[in-house]
Amino acid sequence: MTATVIDGKEFAARVRAQVADHVAKLKADHGITAGLAVILVGEDPASEVYVAAKHRQTVEVGMASFEHRMPADVSEEDLFALIDQLNADPTVHGILCQFPVPKHLNERRVVARIDPAKDVDGLSVVNAGLLASGEKGLVSCTPLGCLMLLRDQLGNMSGKEAVVIGRSNLFGKPMAQLLLQESCTVTIAHSRTKNLEEVCRRADILVAAVGRAEMVQGDWVKPGATVIDVGITRIPHPDKPGKTKLLGDVHYASAAEVANAITPVPGGVGPMTIACLLANTLTATCRAHGLEEPEGLTA
């Protein structure tokens, strides 16, 4: 058996198209333009690339994109003043501060400053708490993207055994909460877990997010399972000198022999993250104006 390849690139394009439709409708019916503000502190080259990609896709779906650059030595006070101003700005529905920020700034304090209703990265303590409480908030983009892929692949997940490897605040914990909401039986495995292979073999849904290249082997996967690979490790390309290659946490070739469906790296979960950022911005816009939220774009 060879697994179905879950095409995240194609699915993300569908999500963006759905977002774009709704953004156009908000504009036509209510005169509202959804707006996303991105704050970039300093000049980290990787961050520049991400911010540029976010800007391009934000504009493509018809939203207003506001970019705010601050010098690497900006004081917390000045950064907070900008966040406060964006919190108060009715044309801004989503605010994202690109991480990492320079060391003298505390990421948790920065996130906490953003109005939870505009925290489209879903990282604030309040949004984490709302998710854990089963209430409406904004959900961290990558887990939300994985949830969308799983729903599309499996439909009803009730009663399935799900194993999430990795317990990070950014991914593992919110992912586990989302799977619980779908009525899966959820195990969170991590670096301290004994018999990890055995735990993985129980899983109807296996989500790997540890950042260790090809750690999950084909014989760790239950036959017929759905495998979501969130890991991204960049290595020197084995055949092309000077080039690099991306690897996931799952040994793709062997896992694809056993699984029913699997996300590739790249082209699986990755493209979903920005699509979900746009979906969250749209959701935040609808909520800010007391309008109905589009279906299928939230948890």
Partner: protein
């Protein structure tokens, strides 16, 4: 004869209250806890009495307020906001149930996180998710304290939680995972609870089904924490068939007399945590 496998709440409660009392003698917090009951709900009275008694024992002020049942949501919220700003109010306890027209979650969110001694504000829950567990929901914290009382260290242990409620199952899962346990959360849609519970070093059950957990569902030597409270013809029983499971388990908490008594002590410990945080925030002189 004492059965050492019966993990009673009394000693854990006493030790927590002792620590709290020592802090209060030392730091002399002047604020009081305020208990709010909306409408007359006699079933809550026994809980309030227990809270008041424990507060008196450690020397903390405790005020019981009963609000009219016909207050609107906004009026309740406004009253809570006054308390948020009142430096003589150390912590706010919102007794449940509340009248049908009141959205309890929204009121809990109105309580300032630094006065949220019940640990119910989404920000408090979010802090637990992010491993800052100082102000956790009292029952969840009590369960964790009893597990600590066994002397087990969580790192690498298998923990199975049965019941995924917002105020018990999920916070306990987060707290034990932060200590290094591999946690599985089961619930009413889980295909085979026994398959999971049988491999667990620690089982925490909070579903409200009398005697759901029998000896065949428990691994020999495991710690079993019973959070269920079920009214039956034989009186109050837990979710665990305690007598039968005692033959297999390493530890079992009794019901009543297990998690319950610890819960009130945690409420008071949360009150001193709130005091510490209010001091740090510069709210108190």
């Amino acid at each position: 004869m004492t059965d050492h496998r019966l993990l009673k709440g009394g000693p854990v409660r006493a030790s927590i209250l002792e620590d709290v009392a020592a802090y209060i003698v030392d730091q002399k917090p002047t604020g009081r806890l305020v208990s709010i009951m909306i409408g007359d709900t006699p079933e809550v009275a026994v809980y309030i009495r227990n809270q008041a008694k424990a507060a008196a024992r450690v020397g903390l002020g405790f005020e019981e307020q009963t609000w009219p049942a016909d207050l609107t949501q906004d009026q309740c919220k406004a009253r809570i906001q006054v308390m948020n700003d009142d430096p003589t109010v150390l912590g706010i306890i919102l007794q449940r149930p509340v009248p049908d027209h009141i959205n309890v979650r929204s009121l809990q969110s109105a309580i300032h996180p630094l006065k949220d001694v019940e640990g119910m504000n989404p920000a408090s829950i979010g802090n637990i998710v992010y491993n800052d567990v100082a102000l956790a929901p009292c029952t969840a914290s009590a369960a964790v304290e009893l597990i600590h009382a066994t002397g087990l260290t969580m790192e690498g242990l298998e923990v199975v939680i049965i019941g995924h409620s917002e105020i018990v199952g999920k916070p306990v899962a987060m707290m034990l995972m932060a200590e290094g346990a591999t946690v599985t959360v089961c619930h009413h849609m889980t295909r085979s609870v026994a398959m999971h519970s049988r491999r667990a070093d620690v089982v925490v059950v909070a579903v409200g089904k009398a005697h759901l957990i029998g000896p065949d569902m428990v691994k020999p030597g495991a710690a079993v924490i019973d959070i269920g409270i079920n009214q039956t013809d034989d009186g109050i029983v837990g979710d665990v068939d305690t007598d039968a499971v005692l033959d297999v388990a390493g530890w079992v908490t009794p019901v009543p007399g297990g998690v319950g008594p610890v819960t009130v002590a945690i409420l008071l410990r949360n009150a001193i945590t709130a005091h510490q945080r209010q001091l740090q925030a510069g709210w108190l002189a």
